[in-house]
């Protein structure tokens, strides 16, 4: 089991993405990096920024940081640890999470709204990382 929102988790996530044929196919034209942000809360003393650089169906770089100035990604999606956990455990549809504003997304909405399949496959990749969450 790998603790969520750590460098080790980011590396494992990158590995799963790069092994996924389904993601590679769905995101073959995608260009854009993300900060997936775990908001501060219980067990999370300060926000954690998971940087994931997605490029043409592959992940070029992934790591965790508490310093948001390290990168300037084109997309930023933030939510509480509880909601990230619910997505990874497939208990919360991320699109519903966005529609109910349990997640906030900043970036080029036109681009992201046209990449439903890639987003779905990316979420599928998270479920393949054997994840443990801070209790």
């Amino acid at each position: 089991m790998i603790e969520f929102a750590t460098d080790e988790w980011a590396e494992a996530f990158m590995g799963v993405i790069n092994e996924s044929e389904a993601y590679a196919q769905a995101a073959k034209t995608w260009e854009g990096d993300f900060y997936f942000i775990v908001e501060a809360g219980e067990n999370i003393p300060q926000p954690i920024y998971l940087y994931v650089d997605l490029w043409h169906g592959k992940c070029r770089e992934a790591f965790a940081t508490t310093d948001p100035s390290v990168k300037d990604p084109v997309f930023r999606m933030s939510g509480s640890l509880e909601n990230w956990r619910r997505v990874i455990e497939k208990k919360l549809d991320p699109i519903q999470g966005l529609l109910t504003r349990r997640f906030k997304l900043k970036g080029d909405m036109v681009k992201v709204m046209r990449a439903v399949k890639a987003a779905q496959e990316l979420v599928n990749c998270t479920t393949l990382v054997s994840t443990e969450f801070p209790e």
Binding site: D93, L98, L99, V110, V116
Partner: protein, 387 residues
């Protein structure tokens, strides 16, 4: 958590007279040239005049309205400065009105960027009334906006909860003059909303009853409205059913028939209701091979044979196909008039479009790329789903 969104709904014979109760200064009616020529726009203007309101008209909405049309309409709004907008027509006019309204309020936004995630802050300049003249789209009570990106040959599913109409006026008399083909096409759109809204993985206690009641009404009254357009009871029940179905799927989601229908419409310009109605039995058959439960519930509600879930789903598919036959609808893409070579040539685009519709990922069974291609091919040949 989830939301249930609805405008105030005024319905039944004479509902259009509610326009005389509206308080405001100036309204812009968004419609099309046919409805203007038929006098519908004039009728709405007369009601508004009784409310002491001035009115103007933008009647250049085409079927499957383009992003460019929306920009032009928003400019017309900016010039006229209405405090009410009236979307009058089928889904194209009402969706165009919603999008133009967003741009009128927020000129900094591009139409293709209207999304449900960001706060728009509407209703600073105007409010929206929707008046359907068909019985199918449900756009009068949904916040969804479907626009065509003509350059990319793709229909864009846009919208924000904020762009839901304030008032929907469902006047059954407005659909009396619809020709049989349009009655069938739009009615099948409503049926697809009802069935997909019930089967969607986002279905909920608030949407379920609406979808079931709409389904019952459509099976009973659509053939009557198709056969005899002057059947007032059938017209009224279909008008109500379309709005109920809109409320149902608008608060859950549509499914794969919509994804494939939008994809087809974006490339081959098949009328929306005809396309989704055609794909409906195929996509139910496909989903029911893994998840027949929700379809069986619908079958039981309709008193169709459903001793088992599989039998129930099969009964529902048969009932849909029988309805399509009674409405003299095409049962396959070949019957729609699409050449096999053309289909094969545009297959990658069709798949890409369908895969990237949000309605695909809420279908009870999500197809792989290969399965989606096979679904298109089976729908071309009219072949029963066996995978």
């Amino acid at each position: 958590m989830w939301y249930f969104n609805s405008p105030e709904i005024v319905f039944g014979e004479g509902a259009l007279a509610h326009l005389e109760e509206i308080e405001g200064r100036r309204a812009l009616i968004v419609s099309d040239e046919n409805l203007a020529a038929l006098g519908f726009v004039r009728t709405v203007q007369e009601h508004l005049a009784k409310a002491g309101m001035e009115s103007g008209v933008f009647s250049q909405v085409e079927p499957d309205p383009s992003l460019e049309t929306v920009v032009r309409g928003a400019q017309a709004m900016a010039d006229y400065e209405p405090d009410w907008i009236v979307g009058l027509g089928g889904g194209s006019c009402m969706d165009a009105a919603k999008a133009m309204w967003v741009l009128y309020e927020r000129p900094d936004i591009r139409p293709e960027a209207i999304n449900p995630v960001e706060i728009l802050g509407l209703r600073q300049k105007a409010r929206l009334i929707t008046v359907p003249t068909t019985a199918g789209t449900g756009a009068e009570v949904t916040w969804a906006i479907v626009l065509s990106d003509t350059q990319e040959e793709r229909k864009l599913a846009l919208g924000s909860r904020e762009n839901m109409a304030d008032i929907a006026i469902v006047e059954p008399g407005l659909s009396k003059g619809m020709p049989p083909r349009l009655t069938a096409d739009t009615g099948l759109d409503a049926l697809t909303h009802a069935l997909e809204g019930y089967a969607s993985t986002w279905a909920n206690d608030f949407s379920d009853g609406l979808c079931l009641k709409a389904t019952e009404l459509i099976f009973r009254y659509l053939p009557r409205a198709y056969r005899d357009g002057s059947d007032e009871e059938a017209r009224e029940k279909m008008a109500n059913a379309a709005t109920l179905a809109g409320l149902g799927f608008g608060n859950s989601m549509a499914g794969l028939a919509h994804s494939m229908g939008h994809a087809l419409g974006g490339v081959f310009h098949t009328p929306h209701g005809r396309a989704v109605g055609l794909f409906l039995p195929y996509t139910i058959e496909y989903a029911a091979r893994e998840n027949p439960g929700r379809y069986a519930q619908i079958a039981r509600y309709l008193s169709l044979p459903a001793q088992t879930e599989t039998e129930g789903a099969g009964s529902l598919v048969r009932a849909i196909r029988e309805l399509l036959e009674r409405l003299e609808q095409p049962m396959s893409l070949r019957e729609v008039g699409i050449e096999r070579e053309a289909l094969q040539e545009r297959m990658d685009k069709l798949i890409e479009n369908a895969e990237n519709e949000a309605t695909t990922v809420v279908h009870p069974r999500i197809p792989t790329t290969e399965e989606l291609e096979t679904l298109f091919l089976y729908a071309y040949g009219g072949k029963e789903i066996d995978f």
